[in-house]
Symmetry: C2
Subunit: 586 residues, 2 copies
């Protein structure tokens, strides 16, 4: 397991290490099987139901969150130069009054480098087991996490529990599975025999997996854990240290993550500075100082297309993985049930008030209407069905609370209201539904906003061809279904798309459409209805982000997401004993 190098405490912890590897081996084996079959699987339950978890755990999680409010967050980091924090709950409008240590970037880098000295010598199998353990501990803290996620991002309680909990941990375990596969592809050693002239040459070769360098994980504000877990686990598993840079308005979830990971490392006698938190403020951002540092060799970024494309244009000689955003579209060509289709689209457009990378923003509808329920439905019939389906959610406070949650930033509310004003003044645009708040049943002061719905034509493309981060649905009049596909895929290629959707009962139409999406590098969902959110991305099964359009370059997860995070260094020498020589002669 450890041909050379030494961890100080390896003998002390040997029994614990062995037990840990044994405990998590079945999980990793199942995860590897899952990514290969892409079947549904998870080691976790993604419902917060007390039928699953009992009543104590949910309550303990809530209390843990409440106990943290108004207190300094405990994180013994190196190089602390001050404390920061200033998160405001979108549900209460009140400050969480939690502060976090702020460390000097150079101190975090030096500490990460020091921690990597031991970590690089830890066998990949043990590193993976330790990451599994971190995931398990995070799952155990998930009720606390759910409240933390809610009150910094605005996600609803159930979404915070599932989407930012097990669904996100699953993406982390998935990345671990790929890291395990990529590392297992490199044998530890080999024997090599060949005759040169009359001489038999026998060499023994050793192949060492060497980490690339510190991984910087830059998290977004609205869904921080979902991309962070795969990035963190992919880098950690391959031997790298990780510095987590949370968005300054959503620190708590990543502070919980870093605290948990550090505890696991400490419990097993390893240097907790392998995982640290790099807090900053909106006024004095620190990301670039890490990005420019030569010790930082891997950058995982989730966030705005603006900063993401800046990184894509400027970072050289490092591994850069990005997920930003695009303009996701629905093409509505025909349907067996307009009501069901409208409900599916309305739910996706309402979920977390469209603050998701998979939220649809445009719906293309043929201007002369569609075939729906075996009859003709006019453009306005379709538009009305969509608005009814949105209203059904918006007008039911309990349902709205569960689906829409809250709007994280006032900027999103301002942006959508400004857009609404502009649209009222735009010739040819028809505002069908105003963006209005709903009253949250538990949090009357919650910052909420139900979707703006507007009819536009392709002449307004400049308006809808970029992401508006907030609840808005553009209903675009298309000449016909094929014209809609042409425009939707063209925009996906040029402006980016993470999820695309079509509804059609005509198989010929579907057949001639799928190639256009494939060429646009756009993942496509066809005729999804029913209980599953159409923008649900299943770990182990759905490849997320193609890397072929401007919405990002990182697929969560595939071999390309992990294979460059480590390198191979070999050595070779003549076989030293006859016995070895015989062993190698196969």
């Amino acid at each position: 397991m450890k041909p050379e190098g030494a961890i100080v405490d390896v003998q002390t912890h040997k029994a614990a290490f062995d037990a840990l590897m044994e405990r998590h081996a079945p999980l990793m084996a199942a995860a590897i099987e899952a990514v290969q079959t892409r079947r549904n699987w998870s080691p976790y339950k993604d419902s917060p139901s007390s039928k699953i978890h009992g009543t104590e755990k949910p309550e303990a999680g809530r209390k843990a969150f409440e106990a943290q409010r108004g207190k300094p967050f405990r994180l013994e980091q190196p190089g602390v130069i001050g404390r920061t924090g200033g998160e405001i709950s979108p549900y209460t409008g009140e400050a969480l009054r939690i502060d976090y240590p702020q460390s000097a970037p150079e101190a975090l880098i030096a500490a990460a480098q020091a921690a990597m000295e031991d970590w690089r010598e830890v066998a990949p199998r043990l590193r993976i087991a330790l990451c599994c353990e971190m995931s398990q501990r995070l799952y155990e803290r998930n009720f606390e996490m759910a409240h933390g996620i809610m009150h910094v991002t605005g996600q609803s309680y159930t979404q915070a529990f599932s989407g930012s909990g097990p669904n996100a941990l699953d993406r982390g375990i998935e990345a671990l599975a790929y890291a395990a596969k990529a590392m297992a592809d490199v044998p530890e050693s080999a024997t090599w025999h060949r005759t040169f002239g009359r001489e038999d040459v026998a060499l023994e070769k050793t192949y060492r997996l060497v980490p690339r360098g510190i991984g910087l994980v830059i998290c977004c504000a609205s869904f921080p854990t979902w991309n962070a877990y795969p990035a963190m686990f992919a880098s950690l598993a391959t031997g790298n240290a990780v510095i987590v840079k949370p968005h300054p308005i959503a620190i708590l979830p990543m502070a919980i993550v870093v605290q948990t990971c550090r505890q696991v490392l400490a419990d097993y006698g390893l240097d907790p500075n392998l995982v640290t938190l790099a807090t900053d403020t909106l006024d004095a951002p620190v990301a670039q100082s890490f990005i420019d540092h030569p010790a930082v060799q891997i950058i995982d970024f989730t966030g705005s297309p603006r900063y993401g494309s800046h990184l894509e244009r400027t970072v050289t000689g490092k591994q850069l993985f990005t997920e930003t955003a695009g303009v996701n579209s629905v093409v509505l060509h025909s349907t067996h049930s307009l009501a069901e289709t409208a409900r599916a689209i309305a739910r996706a457009a309402s979920l977390f008030s469209a603050q998701m990378c998979t939220s649809p923003q445009t719906v293309y509808i043929p201007e002369n209407g569609i075939v729906a329920d075996g009859a003709h439905a006019s453009f306005d019939d379709v538009a009305q069905a969509l608005i009814s389906a949105i209203d059904e959610i918006a007008n039911d406070p309990a349902m709205a609370a569960g689906i829409m949650g809250a709007v994280q930033a006032q900027a999103s509310v301002d942006l959508i209201k400004k857009l609404e004003e502009n649209l009222h003044a735009t010739p040819g645009a028809r505002v069908l539904r105003a963006a209005q708040p709903y009253v949250h049943p538990d949090f009357p002061k919650a910052r909420t906003l139900t979707p703006l719905v507007v009819v536009v034509s392709p002449s307004h493309q400049a308006l809808y061809a970029e992401e508006h981060f907030g609840p808005v649905l553009f209903l675009v009049t298309a000449k016909d279904g094929d014209a809609a596909i042409a425009e939707a895929t063209g925009l996906a290629r040029e402006r980016g798309a993470i999820s695309s959707y079509i509804y059609a009962t005509d198989e010929d139409f579907i057949d001639r459409s799928v190639g256009a999406y494939e060429r646009a590098g756009a993942n496509l969902s066809i005729n999804l209805h029913g209980a599953m959110w159409i923008n649900f991305a299943a770990a182990y099964s759905d490849y997320h982000v193609t890397g072929l359009n401007p919405a990002g370059n990182a697929c969560l997860a595939d071999l390309a997401f992990v294979a460059g995070r480590f390198r191979i260094v070999q050595r070779r020498r003549p076989m030293t004993t006859r016995a070895n020589g015989m062993d190698g002669q196969k």
Copy 2:
């Protein structure tokens, strides 16, 4: 095999495709097994001996080369705007008088994009079989290739045959094996079942492998095929078109490669413009215009550290693979046989007049001498042994011709002679052996140069810490073995190294050295003697270039070399028939 899209001639060629896939399947299976065990294997013979090939093939190859001299090279490319060429044989000093088509870059890019439209729809297995066929045809042309290689690069006939033939094709097949593994990791489809609430959701998912974009392969002048084959096959297998940019002073080998690949494509009814040649001149280089083009998404570069690092600093948003050069070192600590060790080092320093990326340039020797053959050998004893071993080659014209070959460029001769002058004038440096030509037995006008050997101390580091492209060996006085390791690994880390060598009988010394090389990201050969060239890199077994030091970022080959050359685009939809539903319930 082809769920959608269409190749015009797919039915016409179906039987031929099937036969081709069947024919090459065992080769690919064996290659995959070889990269997994890293054992010695090759489908080809790397000796030009007539005992293997008979007498006709060698003669026919020579004649084919001779017939090409003085004639236009036949390559029906698009967008031809002129013809170029001007290669001069290092063996005869005469111009080959072969000219090649020069195509407008835009025309080659447009033709490559058009060719990719069909190629992306070709099943990966068939693409791989077609690459195997290209390799086979190139192997069949290898005697002709060997003469071509000789007369543009200066490699000896045997090295041109083996190193630029089967050994290079093996690296290509190796890259194909990795491409096959990475693509096979993505299933073509999956069924997915999950319960949401009370609803059973069943989805069928399709995962399509999509090429990233045109691959540009920039070849070096001294060893063009060795890096070109893996780059070309890795890009082609994953669905991309390839534009080959040969060095303007070494076009012929890559013209033969491109011609051969195009013939295979044409034979199977595919668009030959999938592989094209982008010639240019030293005065008007075209590489950058391809690099900057958005359709070019993959760049494989082999050549000077200067241009390589320019690319590493400037290319963003594309896959960039580089192999440049470093300063390879030998640390001589102790040996069982000074004569054998000296011979091993002398051969490596003499092979192809040190114009190889694996040639050693420095030999660190403890200033107080070493333990050799069980006794003490002084620094000067060791130096003398090295010079004797070099002289043994240099003074035997037949051996010199077979090992040293010729020097490709007068610039290398000038550079080494200038260096020799400088060293004579450098206080503390001792020139022990002058760089002199030897008289080639077959080509009296050959541009030859035997190694310059000079003793320097660490105070001269500026002199030996960069690559001098030509035959020179710096014998560096080290305080002791450990000091030598410290300096050698420090330079490897800072200046790059592709191959490092140590000789030591002291296992403790070896044990404490290997970690330093690993940390420097330097591949290490320990105590290699005998018939195998110590700088021989075996395909399927030796990972070449770690990517952890400035000598390049591309490992030939590993999963990271191939995994980013394609992307995954998925689609999903509800399962349509009950039968499918049952099939999926496993």
